[in-house]
Each structure stands twice: as structure tokens, then as C-alpha cells.
């Protein structure tokens, strides 16, 4: 089995602050991390590699520092990593990103055929959840999004059976391989990497590709290849506040109830 995981380096959104006066992002304190969903995707790929034999490759598009998330994936048990880095890629939206990634997947697959592509459910910086379906669509392979559990993979029959999260429940879906799976965090618990893998990761250098290494149309990438554009950035409008009440709890409660009794009664009908 050749399992390929698309991973993204994202700013740790927990650490981002917004400067309320200038309305600009203060990313000074924010570090970069492997998109949490992608970590679970790598973990899942590695588990199936261990069960079925094979290789796990990871693929990322990003600045040269994105090497760090490849190393992180090697810690988690990935065998190999590809870093796509080029100025031509900068400014890509989801359509262009999925285009670039799909051409890289094709190139990787031309040396070792890929059976299964993994993505995270979404990237925490963009939250779009579109790149996975985009890649599948470009590669013309089925997409299984929001996967909570991979029930079985049958390499001989080239099939996979998964449990997908859907609103209000889940469904069991079967698909032919190759296909693309995007994973939820619930799919597994990350294992604490063994020390030898940590050491291997530190020493690992990924394969680095620029635009000239890909068989790709330069007009379909970067800003040029992105149909969407950010028109403006603003801080969310805060809803206007009301009154602040202080005092003894029972008195405040007495004051509050009559103000809301109508609403509460209407809800109960």
C-alpha cells in the first residue's frame, strides 16, 4: 500500500491576537504547527501501513519552514516527505492549492502508485475543508470526507469501508481504491512517538520540489490561478451590549424575571 497524506503548516490560532486599535493581526507570539487534523491523518495512515505493509508519504505545499511539519510527520511514523515550495505557489486559494497538490500527487504516483490519499478534515487557519474534495475531484477519484473510522481496507479487492460523520449521525460507505479520505480528530489518538523516530525526524530532509519539477500550468496557480480574492479584512462587529447589573442575587433575579417572562412563556408553547 502507498498511503499519501497531505499536510499543512498552520499558525497556532490559539496564540494569535488581534490588536484592537490598529485592527491588525499580532502573530508575533504565534508559532507554526502541523494542522491538528492532519496529524491524525498521518497517524491513521501509519497505523494502516503497519497493519497492511507499505509506505507512508507526506506532501505539503508551503514556505521552506514547512519542512518542520514533514519532520513532525516522520516522528509520527511517515517514511518520506515532499515539500512543494516556490514563489509561484504563493497566494493560491483552495482551487489553485488543490490543483498544485494534485499534480504533485500524480508525480509521486508515477513512481509508486498511490492507493489512498489522506487529508485533514480542514485546516485550522482557513477552516475551508475544500482542499480535500478539490484534490479528489482533480484526480477523478472518489472522496470520503469527515471520516471517523476506517472500518476495513482490502488491498486485493482494492476497496475501503469507512464510517463518515454526517449531520445528525453517521453513515457507512464503501468505495473503490484509489480514493481520498479526509479525517476527523476522533479517528484515532495520537501516539507518543518513540525516541528513534524523533531522532530520524530531526535528521530527515524532505524531497523539495519547485514549480519546474511539476507538470503543471503556471497560470492555474498562485494569485493568477485563484478565482477568489480577499477584498477586505475586518474585525467582527461586536453586538451592542446592554446593562450591567450588580447587587444581591435575589434582588437581581426579581428584577430580571418580569423582563423575560413573555419570551420564556412563548418558547414553551
Amino acid at each position: 500500500m502507498h498511503l499519501l497524506v497531505c499536510i499543512k503548516q498552520v499558525p497556532n490560532t490559539n496564540e494569535i491576537k488581534i490588536d484592537p486599535k490598529t485592527n491588525t493581526l499580532d502573530r508575533s507570539g504565534a508559532t507554526s504547527i502541523l494542522n491538528p487534523y492532519d496529524a491524525h491523518a498521518v497517524e491513521e495512515a501509519v497505523r494502516w501501513k503497519r497493519a497492511l505493509g507499505g509506505t507512508v508519504s507526506v506532501l505539503t505545499m508551503g514556505p521552506p519552514q514547512a519542512k518542520e511539519v514533514i519532520q513532525k510527520s516522520v516522528e509520527l511514523g511517515a517514511d518520506r516527505g515532499y515539500l512543494l515550495t516556490d514563489k509561484a505557489f504563493a497566494g493560491s486559494d483552495t482551487l489553485a492549492t488543490s490543483y498544485i497538490l494534485s499534480t504533485a500527487v500524480q508525480k509521486i504516483a508515477s513512481s509508486i502508485p498511490v492507493d489512498l490519499v489522506f487529508c485533514g478534515k480542514q485546516a485550522i487557519d482557513g477552516d475551508t475543508a475544500q482542499v480535500g474534495p478539490g484534490i479528489a475531484s482533480r484526480l477523478n477519484i472518489p472522496q470520503l470526507t469527515y471520516v471517523e473510522r476506517i472500518i476495513e481496507i482490502k488491498p486485493e479487492q482494492q476497496t475501503i469501508k469507512v464510517q463518515r460523520h454526517i449531520d445528525g449521525g453517521h453513515e457507512i460507505v464503501e468505495s473503490k481504491l484509489p480514493c481520498l479520505v479526509t479525517v476527523e480528530k476522533e479517528i484515532n489518538e495520537l501516539t507518543y512517538a518513540p525516541l528513534p523516530d524523533m531522532i530520524r525526524a530531526v535528521r530527515y530532509h524532505p524531497v523539495v520540489w519547485s514549480v519546474s519539477d511539476l507538470d503543471a500550468d503556471i497560470n492555474a496557480m498562485g494569485l493568477k490561478g485563484s478565482p477568489t480574492a480577499v477584498k477586505k479584512i475586518f474585525t467582527p462587529k461586536q453586538r451592542a451590549g446592554g446593562e450591567i447589573w450588580k447587587g444581591k442575587a435575589d434582588e437581581l433575579a426579581k428584577k430580571l424575571v418580569p423582563l423575560l417572562i413573555g419570551d420564556v412563556l412563548s418558547c414553551r408553547q
Binding site: Y192, P194, L195, M198, V202
Partner: protein, 431 residues
């Protein structure tokens, strides 16, 4: 058995990085193990880094290291409730390269320093904690980490794991620090524009100043408080002996809040926005608390060895220098291929003969003197403030009259002899 290293350094603080850098540049195969997400992620320091000691490790580091501001002015304030007596020194010779010292953010600085170590060939493993030293026949031969298959072996292990050094403790090099051997320090990083900083501290563009405060900054407890200028931030903090802090039941945070509200401090930080908050222990035991520094196969450096000059708030320089000494010792040991205590005791000798032990020895009674004599903080410090007020208030009273009043105030409830004795003790302890 997994791969064997020449040396393993536990902890990527300044002491460990100094050790690793020196060994790696000398061709040793070095592994650094750090429990934080990245070097510096957890390292707390108010922020003054001394040029000299760093330069001995990486010459001309100031050309590329992430530094905040070179310090051209250092102040000492004796703070009372509503007043302050200031002394200090500003020297323009410090404005030129190479500067005397710098403010730094350890988060950035340690990461840069670690990157240098990696470039020199050291292997840096983050997010991994060392749980125990592996000891065989009384010799340390490696470390056991918290990871699966987590043992790692080396000829020498350098413990640079900071003030809590559980590892040195486990090896029996020292016991739990007493509460009067460590200070609890809290600090906050406040965001303030470079212009405002330069205006409020009367600085030329890019230059920096420090203020160390004694007295009301720590609510009368033995300790110090400080205000340092960074590029676009102010570091402000205070710390007091854990023994006194726990008696008082003041939370460290309250102490810092109180300090920030002090009328002498508030104008300096007006409008600055809190970004980060840290609390950390500082070894303050000094000379008497320094444990044995080596055993067979192991050396202890930096805060882990109590190598901090509490009175002058110097730690990073002692840490780096001790790291360098340990590295030089391991390099020698490697040449001789002997890592026993006797060979490694060369490190102890280096530390003893350097400024590290000499300084620590000089200040060995400082904290104790101060702790045992609350009068320094409660009586003399306010008295000095009063004295200044008297002298500077123009109210028609003659200066000699004023002097008499001042002396009386100093001696309130004390004999001349007692006061003199207190004074001498203090001078002895801190000068």
C-alpha cells in the same frame, strides 16, 4: 542498543546550549534533549544578557543574534511607598559595538542559539523529557526519556535542566532546595511602542535601560524588582524568597500587580498592554547551596547547579560560562577517553577559579543577611527616602538642622553602634 553519543545535554536553556555548541564545534557527537516544544518555549528570564560571556562562546554573536536593545543605562532604585531614591550609570561607551549587555527575549534567543548548535552538528530533540539518568556501576552512562524506546547513551551527560533539576537531585548531588534557597519570580511582558519607550526612559533610538529596584517593589520582602526595556515591549517583574512569599500568603501575581500600580512605576508603563505572564523559580542559595558539580559520567551546569548571583540578577552569564567549562572538560575527557569523576573534576576547578565562584563567594551571605534583618527593608530604606526628601525640600530649615533630623530618623530606636553594625553587614554582603 541505540546509537551512542559523545555527550548528551539535558535542557536547551542557555547553559545547555553553550555546552552543546562548544562540544559540537569541536567535533563531538552531541544530542540535546529539551522537554519544551522548542528551545526557549518555557524559559523565563527578565532579559539581560551579558556580552562578554556569550562572546566567549560565539564571537561577534551580536551581529546576528535576536537582541532587543543594548543597555546604555543601568539604574538602582531604593523604593519606598511614595518615593524613590535613584542612582545609576549611563555610559555612551556602551552605545557602540560591542555593547556591554543586551535585553533579550529568551524565546527568540534560545531558538537562535539552538539553531547555531544544530548548524554545528548537534542533534536537537524537542518535546522529550528526560526522566532519569541511566546509572551503571555508579557511572552515568545515558538517559532515560519519557518516550517509548527512549533510552539514549553517551560517554558524558550534562545536566542543564534548570532550577528544579530533578535529575541532579535523583543522583544525590543535592536535596530539595529549601524555601530560602530559591526565589519565586514573576514577570510580565508589556507591549509598548518603541517611541514611547524611548521617550519615557530618555533613550536614543534603539538604546535600552534597566532599572533594578529594592524595597517596596517586593512589599518589603527580600528580593528585587525590575523594569527592562525591549524593542517594543517592557519586561517587568519582581521576585522574593519563596520562604517569605509563602509566609505572607501574597500570591506572586498580586505582588506584581501591586508593583505595577506603584506611583513610581505606573507612569512608565501607562497604556502598555500585557502580552505574556510567567512565573519561575530562581536559585538564590548562592555559594553555600552549590552542590558537587560532577560525578562519574555526569556534570551539572547553570541553574541546576545553583550558579546564580541573586543580588545582581546574573544567571545567564554564569549558566553559559559553566556550560562552556563543562564542554571544555568533556572535550578533554574525550581526548583521554576517561569520563570518571576525577577527570571531570577539571570542570569544578574551572568554575572555582573563575568569576563564577568568586562572585558567589563574595555574596554568599547577602540574601541571608537581608532576610535575617528585616530592618533593611522596613527601616533603612524608608529612612534613606526621608533623608533625600529632607535635603531637597526647601523650607527655610538650615541644612545642618536637616542633617541632624535625618540622623535621628536613621537611628530611631537604635543605637549608633547598632545602625553602624547593620550598615557594615549589609555593605559586606552586597558590595
Amino acid at each position: 542498543m541505540s546509537e551512542k553519543f559523545d555527550a548528551i545535554v539535558v535542557g536547551a536553556g542557555v547553559s545547555g546550549l553553550a555546552a552543546a555548541y562548544v562540544m559540537a564545534t569541536n567535533g563531538l557527537n552531541v544530542a540535546i534533549i529539551e522537554r519544551g516544544r522548542k528551545p526557549g518555549a518555557k524559559n523565563v528570564m527578565g532579559g539581560v544578557l551579558y556580552r562578554k560571556m556569550m562572546e566567549e562562546i560565539i564571537p561577534e554573536f551580536w551581529k546576528e543574534a535576536p537582541l532587543e536593545r543594548p543597555i546604555i543605562e543601568q539604574n538602582f532604585w531604593l523604593l519606598d511607598h511614595n518615593s524613590v531614591v535613584k542612582t545609576g550609570y549611563r555610559g555612551m561607551e556602551w552605545a557602540d559595538m560591542p555593547h556591554n549587555n543586551y535585553t533579550v527575549f529568551r524565546g527568540k534567543f534560545d531558538q537562535w542559539f539552538a539553531e547555531k548548535c544544530v548548524q554545528a552538528g548537534a542533534l536537537l530533540i524537542n518535546e522529550t523529557a528526560v526522566k532519569h539518568c541511566i546509572v551503571k556501576d555508579g557511572r552515568v552512562i545515558g538517559v532515560e526519556t519519557d518516550r517509548p524506546e527512549g533510552d539514549l547513551y553517551a560517554d558524558a551527560v550534562i545536566l542543564a535542566d534548570g532550577v528544579n533539576s530533578l535529575l541532579a537531585k535523583e543522583l544525590g548531588l543535592h536535596t530539595e532546595w529549601r524555601k530560602d534557597e530559591v526565589a519565586l519570580a514573576v514577570m510580565e511582558v508589556l507591549k509598548l511602542s518603541a517611541d514611547k519607550i524611548e521617550e519615557r526612559f530618555h533613550l536614543n533610538r534603539g538604546m535600552g535601560a534597566t532599572i533594578e529596584l529594592f524595597g517596596d517593589g517586593t512589599d518589603g520582602m527580600v528580593g528585587t524588582a525590575y523594569v527592562y526595556t525591549n524593542q517594543n515591549h517592557i519586561s517587568i517583574g519582581c521576585g522574593a524568597l519563596l520562604s517569605q512569599m509563602s509566609e505572607r500568603t501574597t500570591t506572586p501575581y498580586e505582588l506584581l500587580e501591586r508593583f505595577k500600580q506603584h506611583p513610581m512605576i505606573k507612569p512608565l508603563i501607562e497604556g502598555a498592554e500585557p502580552c505574556e505572564y510567567y512565573a519561575h523559580l530562581i536559585p538564590e542559595g548562592g555559594y553555600r547551596s552549590v552542590p558537587p558539580l560532577v560525578r562519574d559520567g555526569v556534570l551539572v551546569v547553570g541553574d541546576a547547579a545553583q550558579l546564580v548571583n541573586g543580588i545582581h540578577r546574573e544567571g545567564s552569564n554564569l549558566a553559559m560560562t559553566s556550560g562552556r567549562f563543562a564542554a571544555e572538560t568533556v572535550i578533554r575527557a574525550k581526548e583521554a577517553n576517561r569520563f570518571d569523576r576525577q577527570t571531570l573534576s577539571h570542570y569544578e576547578r574551572l568554575v572555582r577559579e573563575s568569576f563564577i565562584m568568586k562572585d558567589l563567594k563574595k555574596y554568599k551571605t547577602a540574601s541571608k543577611t537581608l532576610e535575617d534583618n528585616p530592618d533593611y527593608f522596613h527601616h533603612y530604606l524608608p529612612a534613606v527616602n526621608d533623608a533625600m526628601k529632607e535635603m531637597f525640600t526647601v523650607d527655610g530649615v538650615s541644612k545642618s538642622e536637616k542633617q541632624k533630623k535625618i540622623i535621628k530618623r536613621f537611628l530611631r530606636n537604635k543605637s549608633v553602634l547598632g545602625a553602624a553594625r547593620d550598615g557594615i553587614k549589609l555593605l559586606w554582603a552586597v558590595k
